[in-house]
């Protein structure tokens, strides 16, 4: 019942929230005795000041696109999937299995199979919480948290037993050379542009495609229509003959698959082997990305790049000053806090402002019945 224009909702408010989060982060930097402006300058320069910076920024962004879309899709059905972390871990496992055990003749075939493997394993890991939510009403937030822990236990177990490569570290063998994805530097070199070495690879394009497909799914297909309707009102969905079980299951499977796709970037694109922790909290960053992006793929893409820059900038910051990398975790927490939990702190006054402004200027009332 707010009279706030749409642009305020999708642009103004997230921006104000972001500014607040950054201001508070700046205060934290001051608190630990550093110059926040200088820190900011280092981060910006580190993240977007060179092709090296861009490479890493977009590499991280690719991870966040997948996990952000995963959270966003589930949000449309009013499902809060905080299991992105575990789903991405399992997705990574799927990608690793595909790369390790099938002799691929060419990276493109391997990529296609890895996409299938990552999505399948990610979706499978979301399936049980989804089923329990749909059929037994077990709260998906709690079950997905639990599944994150179970996933990491499972991965540890596999990496110290059947999948372990010879050597001491809990990791798999390196993937065959044929599964190596083209890196940005390779692609740019082919067209004569000099691009620094970075792990940015073709998965980024897969991420962009995923954004477009998710947009199509949510706003153009029947399934997306049903997902949104279900998310808005469960009784209405029942009235319309939209099956609750189907929507919860399908949405979570899509969400888990998207999270699982992260594996193609992190595992196949960069590490070329499965480690114990490939996800590095990206599942959780997805929450912040989705909140900031207001659940829209374009928003998710922009927010993912912002967080990618934050991660890369944070790494540079740690390298150049004594501000530890945890600074990014703090900024991320503050973004989640301000855009997610404290949203009304900004929204209430802003919508009141618009209301007052709207009252002063007499708007033509549409005729009642």
């Amino acid at each position: 019942m707010d009279k706030m224009p749409k642009w305020a909702d999708v642009l103004l408010i997230p921006l104000l929230n972001l500014v607040l989060a950054l201001v508070v982060s700046g205060l934290v930097v001051v608190l630990i005795g550093q110059d926040p402006f200088e820190a900011m300058a280092i981060m910006v320069r580190g993240a977007v000041g060179s092709t090296y910076g861009w490479g890493y920024t977009l590499y991280y962004a690719t991870n966040f696109i997948f996990t952000g879309l995963a959270v966003a899709v589930a949000f449309h059905a009013q499902l809060f999937n905080i299991g992105g972390e575990g789903q991405a871990q399992l997705g990574s496992l799927g990608v690793a299995l595909v790369c390790l055990f099938v002799p691929w003749p060419h990276w493109s075939l391997a990529l296609a199979a890895a996409i299938a493997g990552g999505a399948l394993f990610g979706a499978a890991w979301a399936a049980i919480p989804a089923y329990l939510q749909a059929k037994r009403g077990s709260h998906i937030v709690i079950t997905t948290i639990m599944f994150n822990f179970i996933a990491s236990a499972l991965l540890v177990y596999l990496l110290i037993s059947s999948l372990k490569a010879p050597g001491m570290a809990p990791e798999t063998a390196r993937f065959p050379e044929a599964t190596r994805l083209p890196f940005a530097q390779d692609v740019f070199a082919a067209i004569g542009i000099d691009w620094s070495r970075s792990p940015l690879n073709v998965s980024f394009l897969v991420g962009l495609a995923a954004c477009w497909l998710v947009w199509l799914l949510i706003w153009r297909t029947r399934l997306g229509y049903e997902i949104r309707a279900y998310g808005q009102s469960e009784p209405a969905a029942r009235y319309a003959g939209i099956s609750q079980v189907k929507i919860v299951m399908v949405t979570m499977l899509i969400s888990g698959a998207l999270a699982g796709l992260m594996g193609i970037n992190a595992v196949m694109g960069e590490q070329q082997r499965l480690l114990q922790d490939n996800v590095l909290g990206a599942g959780f960053v997805g929450i912040a990305v989705s909140l900031m992006g207001r659940g829209h793929p374009v928003g998710v893409l922009l927010a993912a790049i912002l967080f990618g820059a934050l991660y890369q900038g944070g790494a540079e910051l740690e390298f150049e000053t004594s501000v530890p990398r945890e600074m990014i975790v703090v900024i991320q927490a503050l973004v989640i806090l301000f855009t997610g939990a404290l949203d009304n702190m900004v929204r209430d006054p802003v919508s009141r402002m618009f209301l007052r402004w709207g009252r002063r200027k007499p708007t033509p009332q549409p005729a009642g019945d």
């Binding site: 019942m1 707010d2 009279k3 199509l216 153009r220 297909t221 029947r222 229509y225 049903e226 949104r228 309707a229 808005q232 009102s233 009784p235 209405a236 029942r238 009235y239 319309a240 003959g241 939209i242 099956s243 919508s351 209301l355 709207g358 549409p366 005729a367 009642g368 019945d369």
Partner: protein
């Protein structure tokens, strides 16, 4: 600060400083001046003034959404007014919260009860009015006092029963006892009879009379003109957030009140020809529904609806009518046998959903358009496809054909005179009546063989009511079957060709509108189907404690 002058805030303690008192010299128990309140863009109360004399019953009537509950909630400190002042027994009193209202001697029974479901009656009564930090002494004292109160006012309840095990009528008693326990001498009741049978309502009014005789002041909100005429001393009428009149009940008539309420002359009867019933479209045999808590909501319902007739189901809210519509509409599962056009339909399993029902020619106007019938954040055009979104005409391959849906929407908006005629407006920004028109347009234009209609005119203004009634009758006249559920007896009486009454998940019997009256239907609604004999209060009392009622259903 709670409020000023607690010690002088009792009956007759202070002289009324305000001029313009009525001749009898007494100070009003309650006086509100210039109360305004808006919820975001909705102005629920506009500059309202009202005064109520001590020891009287004051009625407030008005359409749905007129702002009655809001006003009373302000008086009770539940909402904070944007402007205005409150005087209790002549003293200006700030009521920032319910604590202040309680201290000022005000008690309120909300339209949607405010009880903790898994607490006992006793715990609910003492909640917030405990005597000390420890619970046990408070509970013991309350038990004694409760017994005293229930003897005094014939308000018997079982102190150790859990609220969730009690019927609606009983729960209402708990609410009244709560107020009395807090020694309220001003009692506000917001639509107390909406969930009661006529007999239960009679009992309530006897209690209110007793309270009044003791000198307590009562404010009664109701939609029912008859109750106003029979019980109140004075009555105020609200319309669209404003107080349009306050009159002595003795000086007015139902017709005048109705006109004040809606702002023009009202015609409550529907013009329609006699029904021409044909072959049965819907045949229901021994239909049963058990809800998620394991309570049997329908206990073997059998009925027929034929082509070209309207079967009205009357009953107090919460007696299984909603479940009947839901199970027929495919929103919940049931057991029994249901035939549509002679063919059985699945009552369980994947083919018992609403989508399958629509394919079988069943249209459904749900009871709660905002919760069920519409997606409030979807545009009008998205809502027009709602439920029929897999219609091939609305789709092109895997994608939805938005242009086709919008074109269809424009046509329906024009035909049903939805205002504003804007397919790109979100459903929540249409008024209640226009929202209902969107639902009706969507369902009726599909030309269903059987139309399920629940509360078609709830919260809809009088102009739209007439339009909606006409559309329903027109559908009947095309030879369709219509099953109508409404808690408004007037609506049932005027629209139905046959009337069945539901009580506690069973049909109590069927009547023709021409051969029955509200009194008889009222008794049936209380579960007393034998119209010949006498009915003692004990029988009504037993039904009152039935846990089938569900006052929260519509909230």
């Amino acid at each position: 600060m709670a409020f000023q002058d607690t010690d002088t805030g009792r009956p007759g303690a202070a002289p009324d400083p305000s001029p313009g008192n009525r001749g009898d010299g007494a100070t009003p128990a309650i006086e509100l001046r210039g109360i305004s309140k808006s919820f975001g863009p909705v102005q629920a109360n506009k500059d309202i003034a009202i005064r109520v004399m001590p020891g009287t019953i004051h009625g407030i009537i008005g359409e749905n959404g007129a702002g009655k509950s809001t006003l009373m909630s302000i008086l009770y400190g539940f909402y904070k007014a944007d402007a205005g002042e409150i005087r209790i027994h002549g003293k200006q009193t700030a009521i920032p919260d319910s604590q202040a209202a309680i201290s000022a001697g005000i008690g309120m029974v909300f339209q949607h009860f405010k009880l903790v479901e898994n607490f006992t009656v006793l715990e609910n009564v003492v909640l917030g009015a405990e005597d000390g930090a420890l619970l046990r002494p408070s509970l013991a004292k309350a038990r004694k006092l409760l017994k005293q109160l229930s003897d005094e006012y014939e308000l018997h309840v079982e102190p150790d029963a859990k609220i969730e095990d009690l019927g609606v009528g009983m729960q209402q008693r708990v609410e009244i006892l709560k107020a009395l326990y807090r020694q309220a001498d001003i009692l506000i009741l917001d639509e107390p009879t909406g969930v009661l049978t006529p007999a239960e309502a009679d009992h309530l009014f006897r209690i209110l009379d007793g309270l009044k005789r003791e000198g307590k002041t009562i404010i009664l909100i109701t939609h029912k003109l008859r109750e106003i005429m029979e019980t109140t001393d004075t009555v105020s009428v609200m319309r669209r957030g404003e107080m349009t009149a306050t009159v002595r009940t003795a000086d007015t008539s139902p017709e005048e009140l109705a006109e004040l309420m809606v702002g023009r002359k009202v015609l409550l009867r529907v013009d329609k020809t006699a029904a021409q019933p044909g072959a049965p479209v819907l045949q229901v045999e021994d239909l049963r529904v058990v809800d998620s808590q394991g309570v049997e909501r329908l206990r073997g319902v059998s009925l027929d609806v034929r082509r070209g007739e309207i079967l009205g189901i009357a009953g107090v809210a919460g007696n299984g009518q909603s479940e009947l519509l839901e199970v027929l509409g495919g929103m919940r599962e049931g057991q029994g046998r249901v035939l549509v056009n002679g063919e059985p339909i699945d009552l369980t399993g994947t083919r018992s959903d609403a989508r399958t029902r629509r394919r079988r020619g069943i249209g459904h106007v749900p009871e709660d358009r905002q919760r069920e019938g519409l997606i409030m954040n979807f545009y009008a055009w998205e809502n027009v496809a709602f439920g029929y979104h897999d219609d091939p005409a609305y789709n092109r391959g895997p994608l939805m054909d938005q242009a086709a849906i919008r074109a269809d929407t424009e046509a329906k908006i024009a035909k049903f005179d939805v205002r504003p005629a804007n397919a790109w407006q979100e459903a929540r920004n249409f008024s209640g009546g226009n929202q209902q028109k969107i639902v009706i347009a969507r369902e009726l234009e599909r030309n269903p063989d059987l139309l399920l209609v629940g509360q078609p005119t709830r919260g809809v203004d009088i102009g739209a009511i007439e339009f909606i009634h006409e559309q329903i009758v027109a559908l009947r006249d095309q030879g369709k079957a219509i099953l109508l559920v409404s808690v408004e007896l007037d609506e049932i009486m005027s629209l139905s060709d046959r009337i069945a009454v539901m009580f506690d998940g069973r049909l109590m019997g069927e009547r023709l509108p021409s051969e029955t009256d509200e009194r008889e239907l009222g008794l049936m609604m209380a579960g007393i189907s034998d119209t010949g004999g006498d009915h003692d209060i004990a029988e009504v009392e037993r039904n009152l404690a039935h846990p089938s009622g569900d006052p929260h259903k519509e909230s």
